[in-house]
């Protein structure tokens, strides 16, 4: 059996020796856990995120924000959901019904499928695929056709323009994002996310990848900004630029279809932030603590909870930054957007790859921390 499988799967197979559970093949448990993760995590997050974003917006703009439904309007998202579901299912007459229907589904599928490879904790990961990072990069590209088709299907100039912009933008920013992931791959030598996270532990010597060397620090920012662009967030939200295109690609969408678009966008943001966390911020690793020491004493479930807590904590910090930016920065022009991608980020990302390679070669793969410690303790300390 491959190394990091689902925690439930492992422990269940341990607990249920001899019972009929044991006869159930492992991938069933993996699938079950995957579904659990998605439906217990992705959809609620999408809901709550709307509420949180509105609250943050209110705070930044010195308003109160939603405060009617429930205490502090905490159930606002439920109300929104109900409203969306109960709205009329409207398809523009000149539009293309079939594409109009499948487009939002593509978006949601593309963004939710990314969850499968996210390591929430050391053993709590739906499928720790051995091409995890690449898998996420690949599967999230399905979003682009979704948006494009949706924008086309709703017979509307603004929608089409938004869709074209969005597709161009996503396709372009795929490149710096992928290029800025490569340094991490260089360091960890594996595409497997669990592996990448494990190597950022305190005990393995080098700390989070952000601080591995100067280039990863740059790469971190490039990945984050590129992620913003890929998820059509401000300052890159040209596809749904209210001031130019009415509401961009989802102008004609209403009701649950619009809900799906919104959900897809939020989940995509979450996946991006989770990706950033996993690759650069050490995933579920606790800073400065060697969790394996406690492994003996604590029950594994508690460990899993701690790790999940830290993972989600980091991720939500990133998400908060994203929302914060939304209410802080102005929007770019199209030429500025493309210029930033092709003239700015792609060259820097390439430079990063080169620099990281040189660093790995020069310091035998030690992080800045190790190099510094090695300097102080005299002689390179290679773990």
């Amino acid at each position: 059996m491959p190394a990091n499988s689902a925690l439930f799967a492992q422990s269940l197979t341990q607990w249920t020796q001899g019972t009929w559970f044991a006869s159930v093949p492992i991938w069933v448990w993996a699938l079950v856990s995957a579904l659990l993760v998605i439906y217990m995590l992705a959809l609620p997050f999408g809901g709550i995120a709307t509420y949180v974003e509105r609250k943050i917006a209110a705070d930044i703009q010195d308003r109160i924000g939603p405060n009617r439904v429930g205490p502090l309007g905490i159930f606002q998202f439920a109300a929104d959901a109900i409203k969306m579901i109960s709205k009329e299912d409207y398809v523009p007459p000149g539009g293309d019904r079939f594409l109009f229907n499948i487009a939002p589904v593509l978006v949601v599928v593309g963004s939710c499928a990314g969850f499968v490879a996210l390591p929430l904790a050391q053993y709590l990961v739906a499928g720790d695929i051995n091409i995890g990072v690449f898998y996420i990069m690949a599967i999230t590209t399905i979003i682009a056709p979704g948006i494009l088709l949706g924008s086309w299907a709703s017979e509307n100039k603004w929608s089409l323009l938004g869709g074209l912009r969005s597709a161009a933008q996503i396709v372009s920013y795929e490149i710096p994002v992928a290029l800025s992931i490569l340094p991490v791959i260089l360091i960890s030598g594996s595409l497997q996310m669990g592996e990448i996270v494990k190597q950022q532990g305190w005990q393995s010597g080098h700390f989070w990848n952000v601080f591995h060397n100067p280039f990863t620090l740059i790469a971190f920012f490039i990945l984050f900004v590129g992620g913003l662009a890929e998820t059509n967030r401000i300052p890159f939200d040209l596809p749904e630029a209210e001031s130019e295109l009415v509401s961009g690609f989802n102008t004609e969408f209403s009701g649950m279809r619009f809900g799906l678009y919104a959900l897809g966008e939020f989940v995509d943001v979450f996946v991006m932030c989770a990706l950033v966390t996993t690759l650069f911020l050490g995933g579920w690793q606790l800073p400065f603590v060697e969790l394996d020491k406690f492994m003996i004493t604590l029950p594994s479930g508690l460990i899993a909870l701690i790790q999940v807590g830290f993972f989600l904590g980091k991720t939500f910090v990133m998400v908060f930054v994203v929302m914060w930016l939304r209410w802080t920065l102005p929007r770019l022009r199209v030429d500025q957007l493309m210029g930033l991608c092709w003239k700015g980020m792609v060259p820097i990302a390439l430079f990063n790859i080169l620099g990281t390679a040189i660093w790995m070669w020069a310091f035998k793969g030690q992080s800045m921390l190790q190099v510094a410690l090695g300097l102080f303790s005299g002689g390179g300390s290679s773990h």
Binding site: W27, G127, D128, I129, N130
Partner: protein, 107 residues
Amino acid sequence: MNLLDFSNSIEGYLLVSSILLTLGIFSVLTRKNAIGILLGVELILNAAGINFVAFSKFHLAALDGQMVTLFIILIAAAEAAVALAIILRFYRLKQTIDADEASLLRN
């Protein structure tokens, strides 16, 4: 978890690839639209790729077939880019992309 360790037979792959090839040829032949022809070509390329991958697992149990498929995919990408550029150019020239109109060199 590793999605890769399942055993199955090669015939399925071969059947699928042959069907893809046939459909590709069909759409290449019957489309008036240049883009349609391009779609057919993509189908054909995929059929070839499936074949290579299948044989690389079931016949060689080695990596070579997959390498060839990798190159096929890359070349397909380049081909698509150039073909679509040509189509856009042609459209700008003739205001249509009917492949039969592209016959300036006739006779």
